[in-house]
């Protein structure tokens, strides 16, 4: 008899195709349920236009269906609660920072404008940073520039 814990553990092995962390660390998993041999996973899209969403859905289905005792896996996308960077786990945050991608709770985000931001540089720790563009290499990341160490870095952007 397969358990919810087994499925949750398997989800931790599903990477985000565009980030160095798993979808669990990213906070995309809303709920996992099991009815007999049928598993159902509710996922939260980071941003609705993210082209990685179908890839993630397929990876989850493949991973979970391969578990012994699971006959099928259904993935459903949910919009409530809305995903925010608050959902990223502490380990996920640390891993992202080591890759030059910052994330922080939404509450601080209001201070971010085109010329000033309260985001701390992941390389030198300076807060003399500015927003270069809210649209980065993926739908969930914005691009920032550190005036102190003159490095560009990325940030998991919050909704405004």
């Amino acid at each position: 008899m397969v358990s919810i814990q087994t499925i949750e553990a398997a989800l931790e092995q599903v990477p985000d195709p565009e980030l160095p962390i798993s979808i669990v660390e990213l906070g995309m998993v809303k709920t996992v349920s099991l009815e007999g041999k049928s598993a159902r996973v509710h996922l939260l899209p980071t941003y609705t236009g993210c082209p990685a969403l179908p890839v993630i859905e397929k990876d989850v289905v493949t991973k979970i269906s391969a578990i012994e005792g699971v006959d099928e896996c259904i993935v459903e996308w949910a919009y409530e609660p809305a995903w925010t960077p608050d959902r990223i786990t502490p380990v996920g945050r640390d891993t992202l920072r080591a890759h030059g991608v910052t994330s922080m709770p939404c509450a601080s985000e209001a201070k971010v404008t085109l010329t000033t931001s309260a985001i701390t540089c992941p390389y030198c720790g300076s807060s003399q940073t500015r927003l270069d563009s809210p649209f980065g290499p993926t739908r969930c990341r914005s691009i920032h520039f550190c005036e102190a160490c003159r490095n560009q870095f990325e940030h998991m952007k919050a909704r405004t």
Partner: protein, 255 residues
């Protein structure tokens, strides 16, 4: 039959108007991918076009669920007169960035105000639109910044943006055309028209004044007939045919 049910449902008509604007805008704007004036804007404009298409999809998926239709069928297979987009979105920009920027700015700020209202609906569509509202807000903030940047940049950038505004404002009022005469009775949506228009104008004027630009907005009367009622301009038809060419050639094509 299900298509007909959807097309006569007042809420669906409002949602289709919102989604069709974004579907066509996203399609038209993707022409700029690789060609925008600077790299960051190329990425940003392409990302926004991608968002616009996905926002339309989120709404078509909801409508598809309600009316037993495939979202692609809603997006690509309707008759021309059943598209509810305002034809401002397909006004050709002739690869003039000022026109592209100004058009996206006018549409995004309108779209965001629509999502604000849809987001108050209980249930699935409200949750979806709350998500879209937050993403649209990022577009509006970014586009406002660029209006201000170019308006306060050089004399040339100010002049060119002013010309774009002068050209597009007369078309922009059509955003507020009610998509269906029957909606006149639907107080909850359509008749917030005056209120949404005023909010939209206040925001636009605030941005324009920071940008040293001018614009006068007028609300067309309710009898105005255009894209929202399915009477489309030639430029819409051209864009629509381009967008649906593959679909029409090979309806079962998948990628």
């Amino acid at each position: 039959m299900t298509m007909q049910t959807m097309l006569t449902d007042p809420l669906a008509a409002m949602l289709l108007a919102a989604a069709d604007d974004l579907l066509m805008l996203g399609h038209v704007q993707s022409d700029w991918t690789g060609l925008a004036p600077i790299l960051e804007e190329d990425i940003a404009a392409s990302a926004m076009a991608q968002d616009d298409l996905s926002h339309a999809l989120v709404i078509y998926e909801f409508l598809g669920g309600e009316h037993d239709l495939d979202p692609d069928t809603i997006a690509f297979d309707r008759n021309l007169e059943d598209y509810r987009c305002c034809d401002l979105v397909t006004v050709p920009d002739d690869f003039d960035w000022s026109i592209s920027l100004c058009k996206r700015w006018l549409v995004a700020s309108y779209s965001k105000l629509g999502f604000d209202r849809f987001a108050t609906i209980e249930g699935d569509i409200g949750q979806r639109c709350a998500r879209l509202r937050d993403e649209a807000a990022i577009h509006v903030a970014h586009l406002n910044n660029w209006i201000i940047r170019l308006g306060t940049g050089s004399q040339e950038s100010n002049d060119r943006l002013q010309q774009a505004i002068n050209k597009l404002i007369p078309e922009a009022g059509m955003l507020f055309e009610p998509p269906d005469a029957g909606l006149e009775q639907d107080e909850s949506f359509c008749c917030g028209r005056q209120e949404i228009f005023e909010e939209w104008v206040d925001q636009n004027i605030a941005t324009l004044s920071q940008a040293n630009l001018q614009g006068t907005f007028t609300l067309p009367d309710r009898e105005a007939v255009g894209g929202r009622r399915g009477i489309h301009a030639d430029h819409f038809v051209e864009q629509f045919e381009e967008m649906t060419e593959v679909r029409r050639t090979e309806p079962s094509a998948a990628w």
